[in-house]
């Protein structure tokens, strides 16, 4: 697997952890799927919504490994998750965001609904990212915005799992190059911390597995410290594409194998 990956999650200053995440590889270790879901709703319903989506993805992921059309597969998977989450809510609303990225050699395929984000980073700059399905983001695009009033509506999602019976997940894909990094995170991270710092730290190529895990932990604690009162749940998965192992690494692995 040319990717190294680290993931972590923190409850923040909330009473309940409603974020869920999943990192899953195929048996050969040649492909990987990363998922973040951020639930919302009262009385454990948010956590249940996020968990339901993650469970559905985990149970149905095998088809993805061999899929010839990963984007359609991801779309169907998200639409199915929506049906599962819709089935949960009776009187209490249960909903969740979902963002997932499928990595196969040097190709990425991603899809999302809601405001959990995917970022693709090259040389410290974001070269692609998901657009939040929030009222604020939409109005920003429309140029139909006001300054104060929107702030309140900014977090309102117009598309998520469990909200509408008919959803249109947004999908995209890209090839990657040596040293490229990606991030998946819930709004607890991007809404509470300076993402530019995380982007630049992630751009240190040749980072080790331990180094990446440390970076993830640091970013999460920075977001937590930034909002000590009522801070949101925080989840982050980071990955870096390192195709060519260094000569030393190859030598070492050859020595240890024999």
């Amino acid at each position: 697997m040319p990717w190294i990956t680290a993931a972590d999650s923190d409850i923040g200053a909330r009473e309940e952890q409603q974020d869920r995440y999943l990192v899953v590889r195929n048996d050969r270790g040649s492909s990987q799927l990363l998922v973040v879901a951020d639930g919302a709703g009262g009385h454990t319903m948010g956590a249940m919504a996020a968990q339901t989506a993650i469970t559905h993805v985990r149970e149905n992921v095998t088809g993805l490994w061999l899929s010839e059309d990963p984007l359609t597969f991801l779309k169907d998977l998200i639409v199915e998750c929506n049906q599962r989450v819709l089935a949960l809510s009776d009187t209490d609303l249960a909903c969740s965001t979902i963002v997932m990225v499928f990595m196969r050699s040097d190709e990425l395929f991603w899809g999302h609904v809601g405001d959990s984000r995917f970022y693709l980073i090259r040389n410290g700059e974001v070269i692609s990212q998901t657009r939040d399905h929030s009222v604020g983001e939409l109005q920003q695009r429309q140029g139909d915005e006001a300054t104060g009033a929107i702030k309140a509506a900014e977090n309102e999602l117009y598309m998520c799992l469990g909200g509408l019976s008919d959803i249109t997940p947004e999908l995209d894909s890209s090839a990657v190059r040596e040293g490229d990094s990606l991030l998946l995170c819930s709004d607890g991270l991007w809404g509470q911390t300076d993402m530019l710092r995380t982007f630049s730290e992630l751009s240190n190529t040749g980072i080790s597995q331990e180094g990446l895990a440390k970076l993830v932990a640091q970013s999460i604690s920075a977001a937590k410290i930034a909002k000590p009162e009522n801070g949101d749940n925080i989840t982050l998965i980071a990955s870096q594409f390192l195709e060519k192992p260094t000569l030393i690494r190859r030598l070492l692995s050859a020595i240890f194998k024999t």
Binding site: D106, I127, R141, Q142, G143, T147, A149, A175
Partner: protein, 236 residues
């Protein structure tokens, strides 16, 4: 009156209210709008006010000025137009934008605005739907030599052009390699990546390294002609 909003990626990094005086855009200090980056010329472009209209003018820049994906030397601006300079997008709008999210520095104009209360229309459902359905469509027009032009949608992050059976688009020739070139989605852009002995030309010039494809550009691989399109279209 109008505003320009400067985006880098999805982040709103700066915005300016336009008056009647010229706004110069360039890499060096002294320009009204400074855009850092090697791809921006020292004096790259200007926005000029003439007879009640705004115009974007290329000041002889190295890499050009693009208006809604088309290269321009001088062109009238209308609201919602997008000016592309290097990796910046400058939108010409009737109103100010929201303050950029975390991390980006903003103009003071924004702060003075924030204590005013404004009303805003809740977006109606139809507009919402229209926006959701507007997506970029990328495709190639490929000629086969006999004048027949075929449209090929680009749906994968990588498309291979070559003699190999696995290539998505075929070229012929005795010495043509299995893969002559690939078209790769790299972030938000598409790049033409030539391989050894691929004989790849972009806009009639031979290329050896990855080259960003612009809407409407032409390229050839081993003599076969292609035209690349990357534009906003409404999907059903």
């Amino acid at each position: 009156m109008g505003y320009i909003r400067v985006y880098r990626g999805n982040d709103l990094t700066n915005q300016l209210e336009l008056g009647e005086e010229q706004v110069t855009i360039g890499r060096t200090e002294g320009n009204t709008l400074v855009l850092p980056g090697d791809g921006v010329s020292r004096q790259h472009a200007a926005i000029e006010f003439q007879n009640g209209e705004y115009y974007i003018v290329d000041l002889g820049s190295q890499n050009g000025v693009f208006l809604n994906n088309e290269k321009v030397v001088k062109s009238k601006l209308k609201y919602w137009d997008e000016i592309q300079i290097h990796n910046f997008v400058i939108k010409f709008m009737a109103t100010q934008g929201l303050s950029a999210k975390k991390g980006a520095q903003n103009q003071t104009a924004q702060e003075s605005e924030s204590d005013k209360t404004k009303f805003f229309k809740i977006t109606d459902e139809k507009q919402l739907d229209d926006l959701r359905k507007k997506t970029k469509e990328c495709f190639l027009n490929c000629s086969d030599g006999s004048g027949v032009v075929k449209k090929v949608l680009i749906k994968k992050p990588k498309i291979a052009i070559g003699k190999s059976k696995d290539a998505d688009l075929s070229v012929s020739g005795w010495f043509a390699p299995g893969i002559c070139a690939t078209i790769e989605r790299q972030g938000n852009n598409y790049e033409l990546v030539p391989r050894k002995r691929g004989k790849v030309s972009y806009q009639n010039k031979p290329i050896v390294g990855p080259t960003k494809l612009l809407d409407g550009s032409v390229f050839s691989v081993r003599g076969r002609q292609f035209k690349f399109f990357n534009r906003l279209t409404k999907t059903s």
